[in-house]
């Protein structure tokens, strides 16, 4: 049974078709890659899935539930975590608070109980801090847990964003270009980390420009071009697909 299924999604911006009847399936427990030249509609698709924007037509199902019309925070509450293409960490908080804010959904209690600092709340805060430190430890960020998130170097901020998404204990993770701006060594660590996340039973859907990385970790790859799905299959199949090669080559020529 597929974890996420997208059916005939279309999205237009001022008459320009960003996505044209795209259908996709992501199987539970797999890593799926999504590639395509710039402007192919990859980020748009992610925004539609996570509920930041709404499609013009088509349906999105997550865990057999129709999430097309749901608000973004409701979709996250179902267990879908995500990172952003343009880094969206909370620079006004410390590193550990960023992770703890990621757990927000799992911490129970009303505004009043927090204001009165009831014993129940006290213990849950303590446990959250402990758990957040464990997450930071596993990402290698524990050394700077008390510094402001805005003061971290870029690579670590990227890791922090991933950590924040993991803190909400997602079943499904959308990663929007996690490797962009990272050094080769950092990319290696990241791929390892992503494989590890999958082993913990999380489905991963990843948009990435860094071909080597996607080819290495993904079970299946889909290719978008000009808002249309032009190919889908195993990394080996995609590598040899003439349509894909042409789309990328044409893109390259246009760049030069």
């Amino acid at each position: 049974m597929s974890h996420l299924s997208i059916e005939e999604i279309t999205k237009e911006y001022d008459g320009i078709r960003a996505l044209d009847r795209v259908s996709l399936k992501v199987e539970k427990g797999s890593i799926k890659g999504l590639i395509g030249p710039n402007g192919a509609g990859k980020s748009t698709l992610f925004h539609l899935i996570s509920g930041v924007e709404k499609p013009d037509s088509g349906k999105i199902r997550f865990k057999e539930r129709d999430i097309t019309a749901m608000a973004s925070h409701e979709i996250s509450a179902l267990g879908m975590g995500r990172t952003f293409q343009t880094l969206q960490i909370w620079g006004n908080m410390t590193v550990v608070e960023n992770i703890m804010a990621g757990m927000n959904r799992r911490l129970k209690g009303s505004l009043l109980s927090y204001g009165l600092w009831l014993p129940r709340v006290r213990t849950s805060e303590k446990e959250a801090l402990k758990e957040a430190k464990e997450i930071l430890n596993s990402l290698g960020l524990l050394g700077s847990w008390e510094s402001m998130a805005s003061q971290l170097p870029y690579g670590k901020q990227k890791l922090l964003e991933l950590g924040r998404a993991l803190a909400m204990k997602p079943e499904f993770l959308l990663l929007d270009e996690p490797a962009s701006g990272l050094t080769l060594k950092e990319i290696e660590q990241l791929s390892e980390r992503i494989s590890q996340i999958r082993q913990e039973g999380v489905t991963v859907f990843i948009v990435e420009h860094h071909m080597g990385m996607v080819m290495e970790i993904a079970d299946e790859i889909a290719v978008l071009h000009n808002g249309e799905l032009i190919a889908e299959g195993t990394p080996e199949g995609i590598r040899g697909n003439p349509q894909v090669i042409e789309a990328y080559l044409r893109g390259k020529r246009a760049d030069a």
């Binding site: 925070h73 952003f84 909370w90 908080m93 804010a101 927000n104 911490l107």
Partner: protein, 358 residues
């Protein structure tokens, strides 16, 4: 700190340094605001608040501090909304006004006890905030500022025009002193302890919010709403909750204000007053829970001090505000520690330079 390096200084330098150093001990520093637990310093503040009116037993000072306390309650609520959640409200004086008029009408007209009126005021302000907030909080940035501004002005017009209910421009007189079970707060000293007691309670409440899940949700909403909803934070609800809470604070402050001044009239809730409260939050430091209190004390004291210069007071007041905003853009406590150390280093070097050693 200062004493050990005394040799490097001229006596004149001590004159600059000592007050700055003392201020750096007392003033809340926004640059370390992320360490949010209660500390020993808080006990120091509490002791100072408790002892100040006894040491400085001047009724005028007491009255001034009562007003500062009331403004601080109001600014504290606004600080949660503006400083933490990053939303702009220019209609906060209206909730203050709702609190004051609720108390005025209940006590002066219908003879309820001020204690009952206090809670009713908070409740009525938050109910109005809920009804207003639901549609209005969908707006962002300047649009939210304009909408709340409009709300404040509409409230003012309604108060002025509905003469039967609010007494129009003249307002309502004869509100009794605040009293609980027969104990009447009839002197400025007693009122001082009343307002600062309420303020302390609300401060602890707010600080608990800020250092917990709620505060993190607020900061998350301020920094990036998309990221906040991506981890399951219900952004509209977080905004609404804190707006309603801020209004409840304002309602409490308004009720206390009515009891202290024993009158409620529309002049007190004008746009100028809203701007004053916003200034308190900004001067105290955005996203700094001690800030609104420091800002409220500073501005109340400054206004009172300048009022003796009559026609010059307003220009001087605005110049001081501008200077403060230039030199302390993140609040009056900003990095005073660092500034002291910098000054020590500067003067020590200057002395050596003068002697030709450097």
């Amino acid at each position: 700190m200062v004493e050990t390096k005394k040799n490097d200084f001229r006596t004149r330098d001590l004159f600059y340094l000592v007050p700055l150093w003392v201020l750096s001990l007392i003033a809340p520093d926004p640059y370390i605001y992320h360490k949010k637990e209660f500390k020993k310093k808080d006990l120091l503040y509490l002791g100072a608040i408790g002892l100040a009116p006894l040491i400085w037993s001047d009724p005028h000072f007491h009255h001034l501090m009562v007003l500062a306390g009331i403004y601080a309650i109001l600014a504290l609520g606004l600080s949660l909304f503006t400083g933490y959640a990053g939303q702009i409200s220019l209609g906060h004086a209206a909730f203050f006004g709702i609190g004051a008029y609720t108390t005025a009408i209940l006590t002066a007209r219908h003879g309820f006890s001020p204690f009952v009126a206090l809670w009713t005021s908070a409740l009525s302000a938050s109910v109005v905030a809920y009804l207003i907030g639901r549609p209005i909080l969908k707006l962002k940035g300047y649009f939210l500022a304009l909408a709340t501004l409009g709300f404040g002005e509409i409230f003012l017009v309604m108060v002025r025009e509905s003469t039967d209910l609010t007494g129009g421009v003249i307002g309502i007189f004869g509100i009794p002193w605040f009293s609980v079970i027969g104990f009447s707060f009839d002197s400025y000293l007693k009122q001082y302890y009343l307002t600062w007691g309420v303020l302390t309670g609300l401060f602890i409440f707010s600080k608990n919010l800020v250092r917990s899940k709620v505060g993190r949700a607020l900061l998350a909403v301020a920094a990036s709403e998309d990221a906040a909803s991506s981890v399951g934070i219900n952004v509209p609800r977080v905004k609404l909750e804190i707006f309603v809470l801020g209004a409840a604070f304002a309602g409490l402050a308004g009720s206390l204000f009515a009891c202290v001044m024993s009158t409620a009239n529309p002049e007190a809730f004008s746009l100028g007053f809203t701007v004053l409260i916003v200034m308190m939050v900004i001067l105290g430091g955005m996203g700094n829970i001690y800030g609104p209190i420091a800002g409220a004390i500073l501005l109340t004291w400054l206004m009172d001090f300048l009022s003796r210069y009559q026609e010059y007071s307003l220009p001087v007041y605005s110049v001081i505000l501008i200077l403060l905003l230039i030199f302390f853009p993140d609040g009056i406590g900003t990095r005073l520690n660092v500034r002291v150390i910098y000054l020590i280093g500067y003067w020590a070097k200057k002395k050596k330079r003068d002697e030709g050693k450097l």
